[in-house]
Amino acid sequence: MTATPPPTTSTRHALAIELSKLAKSFRTPDGPVHAVRGVDVAIAPGETVALLGPNGAGKSTTIDLLLGLAVPDTGSATVFGRRPTDAVAAGAIGAMLQTGGLIPDLSVRELVTMMASLYARPMPVDDVLQLAAIDDIANRRTNRLSGGQTQRVRAAVALVGDPELLVLDEPTVGMDVESRRGFWRTMRSFAAHGRTILFATHYLDEADDYADRAILMARGRVVADGPTTVIKAMVGSRTIRATLPAADRAVLHGLPGVISVDRHGAAVILTCSDSDAAVRALIDTYPEARDIEIAGAGLEQAFLELTADDAADPAGSLPQKEPAS
């Protein structure tokens, strides 16, 4: 046995997050729900990773497991080579959970100071207030904040311990565009210190804009894992809808960038890998096309396509051990 190396050395050698054959199911009145069904993920220190997936994909359960808020049925989760609860106790993790409010009867500054006192090496409170852009509401009571302000204070609470790993579970849900941009500005300047960030989202654009890498989950499994640009191309198909009664299906299918063609009465729906090229070609070929709409296919749709083979997968293929409730 060697002496425990100082934290900086150990974090350099260990993975920030390592999930191995992770599985978790819950008892419900309708029978067991297999929320996470064998997830393997390795994230190196310094990465910013998006965990993408539709609702019910298992993102939040995966996050609970890696924060030590839930115990896996099988498999393991480690953070910087340690058990999640040990990493939390050491102050290595900061997290913004999906649901949550603030306790009342304190000012924003008092609440952040209170939380800072729980960590051995917290950020100075003034720095955190500034980083989270809440210095202007520092003296306001936590129960007198707007939704966006509450989210910013929750972000400050996650950051105040100056954690090596920051975990954000759908942090910008309910924020307007401006708040969302401000929020990610905060997170970017924090990530600039070489910290690891994992965030769950169901906004593809958010993953594309702020993460180096995206992990796609659906039905409790990882269905794709790679650089965000690759993932975006995989799931970022768009549809063009137009009123075009006279169109020929084969011609439409032959247009550049078109993957498939559907027809609903007078309307045609083109699923495209390159909607820009497709719409230009469509207008060149059929100048009479009307009511043209272009829309993102949406993650939900993309995931359904990606995981179509998975549909017949027996849910009982994993151990049915009951969770420790």
């Binding site: 939040s60 609970d64 924060l67 030590g68 808020l69 839930a70 939390v88 106790a89 050491a90 102050g91 993790i93 900061g94 997290a95 959970l97 999906q98 649901t99 949550g100 409010g101 603030l102 306790i103 009342p104 009867d105 304190l106 008092e110 609440l111 100071t113 209170m114 939380m115 800072a116 006192s117 729980l118 960590y119 051995a120 609470v157 311990g161 409730s325």
Partner: protein, 242 residues
């Protein structure tokens, strides 16, 4: 830890509604009951003055409801997911429980002192050692109730905690002889196994009672250990989203 505890206290004493119910309610009750009888020096043949008798009774009541109502605050914190937020900080479950218990103590002590002040204003006089002995026993007897508050606070939702806590406290008070004396039979045997009975006895020290004796200390110790262990377990297991 001291900063955490300080803000825990600050926010408890800032909560107006909580403060009104924990402090003002027993105080007003005391003034209403004892005030008109302030010159009764021999209440119902007990040899005790009315202000003393009711001061002691209400101090017991205030300690019990104050400690138990801390459970309602925990349930409210859970309803916004704050317990989960605390779980992902280095705050240990021991430190969490200690902070909660100390806050309950501060509240109980403050409400007892207010009642003492009101009692003294109405002419209650006691030897210093009786004041001290009564206060000390009340504070020790508070431990099981503080633990009970924390335990129930982690088991029950914010919507249902009111009736659950109110019912539990009322039942314990009733069976423990808070409202009327229990001196014999099966009810007496039952009462002597309850922490509420010994809390009442603690108050009665100043009324010429004999304090706790071995059985009293054992009962209080057993409930304290049992309920604290259950409360700690409930906190550790309480990790699901609200």
């Amino acid at each position: 830890m001291s900063t955490y505890l300080r803000y825990e206290l600050v926010r408890t004493f800032r909560n107006t509604r909580f403060v009104i119910f924990a402090f003002a309610f027993p105080l007003v009750l005391y003034v209403v009951i004892a005030g008109p009888n302030r010159h009764v020096h021999d209440l119902g043949g007990t040899g005790l003055s009315a202000p003393l008798y009711f001061m002691v009774g209400l101090a017991t009541f205030a300690v019990m409801t104050g400690a138990v109502s801390s459970g309602a605050r925990i349930a409210a914190e859970r309803s916004v997911g704050w317990n989960r937020q605390l779980r992902i900080t280095p705050l240990s479950s021991r430190a969490y429980l200690v902070a909660k218990v100390l806050t309950a103590y501060a509240m109980a002590l403050a409400s007892i002192l207010l009642l003492y002040a009101a009692g003294i204003a109405m002419g209650v006089r006691m030897p210093a050692q009786d004041w001290l002995a009564m206060t000390a026993l009340l504070l020790v007897g508070l431990v099981p109730f503080a633990a009970l508050g924390i335990l129930v606070g982690h088991l029950v939702s914010a919507d249902t905690i009111g009736p659950v806590m109110g019912g539990t406290a009322a039942l314990l008070a009733l069976l423990g002889g808070t409202w009327f004396p229990i001196t014999s039979g099966f009810m007496y045997d039952l009462a002597r196994g309850l922490p509420s009975y010994w809390l009442v006895q603690a108050g009665r020290v100043s009324l010429g009672g004999s304090g706790w004796g071995t059985l009293g200390w054992l009962v209080i110790a057993a409930w304290s250990i049992g309920l604290t262990a259950l409360a700690a377990r409930a906190y550790r297991r309480d990790t699901r989203p609200a």
